[in-house]
Amino acid sequence: MSDAHHGFNLREWIFTTDHKRIGILYLIGALSAFAIAGTFAIMIRMQQYGPGMQVFDSGSGYNTALYFHGAAMILVFLIPALTGFFANYFLPLMIGAKDVAFPRINAFSVWLFYAAIILALVSLVIPDPPDVMWTGYPPYSVTTEGNTAFYVFTVHLLGFSSILGAINFLVTVIYMRAPGMGWNQLNMFVWTILAAFILQLIFIPVLASAVTMLLFDKYLGTHFFDPAMGGDVLLYQNLFWFYSHPAVYVILLPAIGILFDVIATMGKNRIFNYKVCVYAGIGGVLALAGEVWIHHLYVAGVPDWIRVGMMITTLLISVPIGLMLMSLWGTLYKASITFNVAMHYASACLFLLLIGGLTGIPLAMTVMTANLGQTSFVHAHFHFVMALFSTFAIISGIYYWFPKMTGRLAEGKLAVVAFWFNIIGVNITFWPLFIIGVQGMPRRYFSYEQFPQFAPYHHVATYGSFLVALGMVLTLINWIKSAFWGVKSEANPWHSKSLEWTHTPNPPGPGNFPHDVTVSADWTPYDYVK
């Protein structure tokens, strides 16, 4: 028994109920999804290179690529990487717990996630792949020849996985904190995960219901979304966005949480305005998240009083987000910064979130959305927030905790070169889309013969995407190389005060902590300035 946790044992990995190993399983699945969905992104960009058919032979091939790229990036990469991998691996360590409250349910969640991945991959090889984007709007999703059922079940599996995750992590944070750890001593990452799971718990069931009705409409002949038979086609859009707007915060909040931990540790500084950030910032987002979804339906024929009401709430939600951003910037104030790779990505995030956030303000306004809503301006806006900001935060977190997971450092020239490819590449890819968006470049079209004047911009964007692809491949090579042959790290390479660094070995063994953890009343994970 004594050497049972040395060496690789496949059985021990597949049937594991240990939160760290489950976290790694999430990471492997999420990164695989990122690779495949990223390949589709490159194909989409190549198709958009010029008007007419470039790489796909039909519009439906392009639709399938859009479906897989969107659904996999959001549902299988971003959300599982943040609330699956990071939450699983680091949250119990940060609060001094030996595991989560329900380890078997945790294993259940990760395998539901893999079942969804399998279903999504099967979708790619069947003769009638789903072609409903990640939104699955009726009436098209009901009338299409494509297999909408697989879309619905992918959402079900992932949704159930997240709901169980929510139960697990809420109970874990409430009941399994180390003795002495009060609410104001939690890592910012723990707070943001808590908030993300509260959102998942409340809003996922609504999405699950919406897609279930879709399934019934298509395969059992009901009429939920058929106005001719007493149904309502906008009902789907309402239910869908009632979940899917908050889903943005399920991604955004943990990404911000990672940045707080990276920036405070690498700057050796306290969190600026901790309590305001937690209770007004995160709390404000939670309070408003469910009252803004109509901004996705501004042009769908919704009564004005709802449109204007939700325009106000949408603009208002930038206040709590702004408070969090202020805390992020404030944490840099008078900090003594160690500029490692994690910090490169973290600083890039501050810029990306600013651009993404500012371009969201015109889109919050009904009059502007009437013109911009169906253009590539929206496309560029949400990629800045969701794709670029969140992915950079994830990469920052992986670099920051890399020594914790592997015992080795992933720093070095390769990492920095890859960073510059990534940050330059994403800007070259998405700025042209803002510009032609304002001039009327439509979103989602597989070809743009009517607008040949936009072709040069698309050329630039496509070349930019190649740079990103190169950067991501180099990043992945660097991680694999470093995990096996990287420089050995000291126990606490960043001299953090947080429990996952101070009280556990790299990587932690079964049960996490060699000695039981208690914390004193004046301890905080950001206890750098006295």
Binding site: H5, D99, A101, P103, I163, F203
Partner: protein
């Protein structure tokens, strides 16, 4: 640090997360892939691809996997000691929050469809039963009382009485599901199908979804009852089962008032 201690019955109790070896369990894996075969694949084979053989094959793989996984899971739950005891009693109410929102989505759909129609019920809706739902309400409320009695008996250590009252509860639940089956059969015979009109889709989805919850609640009770016959009971698990059952009961009050008597 000792890894093993024993219960009064002499069965070894393993402590989770005691720090000696990596914890494993085959149960979650088995249940997930059982569900994977039984729901997405079986449904798709039947409704999307109309392939009878594969429908049967996938269901035949899925169901045994689920039963095996659940049995294993319960066995582990009864022999292993969690890191912190009793937390499932908090987890269940949190799960119910999420359930409430599923029901709310369907009710919101119902209200929207109904309030935007000029005449209700729509054409082709037969006369709905009045006495049957009242009787079903009686069955469920009584079963909530009997499960409460069962819990009290367990609290006083009277295992035999606990089992008796749990069996009574299960019988009430089964009676409820029989009524549902009877009612569905009657309605389908009068050509009232899920696809018939706006009311039929609401009626079948909401009552059907509730009935599936009754079925799940009963499954939990049976999963408690079988080991209890051998004297193995986990009080937290019983608490979860009863919380869930009370929830199913409360939802039914909403279903009856909204679907049958409005």
């Amino acid at each position: 640090m000792t890894a093993h201690s024993t219960t009064a019955h002499g069965t070894p109790i393993e402590h989770q997360g005691h720090g000696h070896h990596w914890e494993t369990s085959i149960a979650p894996f088995a249940v997930v892939f059982g569900v994977f075969f039984l729901l997405p694949l079986t449904f798709s084979m039947h409704f999307v691809y109309h392939n009878t053989i594969l429908t049967a094959v996938f269901a035949g793989i899925g169901l045994p996997l689920i039963l095996f996984g659940v049995a294993k899971w319960i066995d582990e739950g009864l022999t292993q000691k969690p890191l912190v005891a009793g937390l499932a009693g908090v987890g269940m109410p949190i799960f119910i929050v999420s359930e409430i929102f599923i029901f709310l989505s369907f009710f919101a759909t119902y209200w929207m469809v109904r309030l935007s129609t000029y005449s209700w019920p729509p054409e082709h809706t037969p006369e709905m039963p009045v006495l049957l739902p009242l009787f079903m309400t009686f069955l469920l409320i009584t079963s909530s009382v009997t499960v409460h009695i069962a819990e009290e008996k367990l609290e006083h250590g009277d295992l035999a009485a606990f089992r008796k009252w749990l069996v009574i509860t299960v019988l009430f639940g089964l009676a409820f599901l029989s009524c549902t089956t009877f009612e569905y059969h009657h309605l389908l015979e009068h050509d009232f199908l899920p696809s018939t009109n706006a009311f039929s889709m609401i009626f079948f989805s909401i009552t059907g979804f509730h009935a599936s919850h009754v079925f799940l609640g009963l499954s939990i009770f049976i999963a408690i009852l079988l080991p209890a016959l051998g004297g193995r009971v986990n009080k937290t698990f019983v608490l979860c089962g009863s919380i869930y059952w009370h929830f199913v009961d409360v939802v039914w009050i909403f279903v009856v008032s909204q679907i049958y008597f409005w």
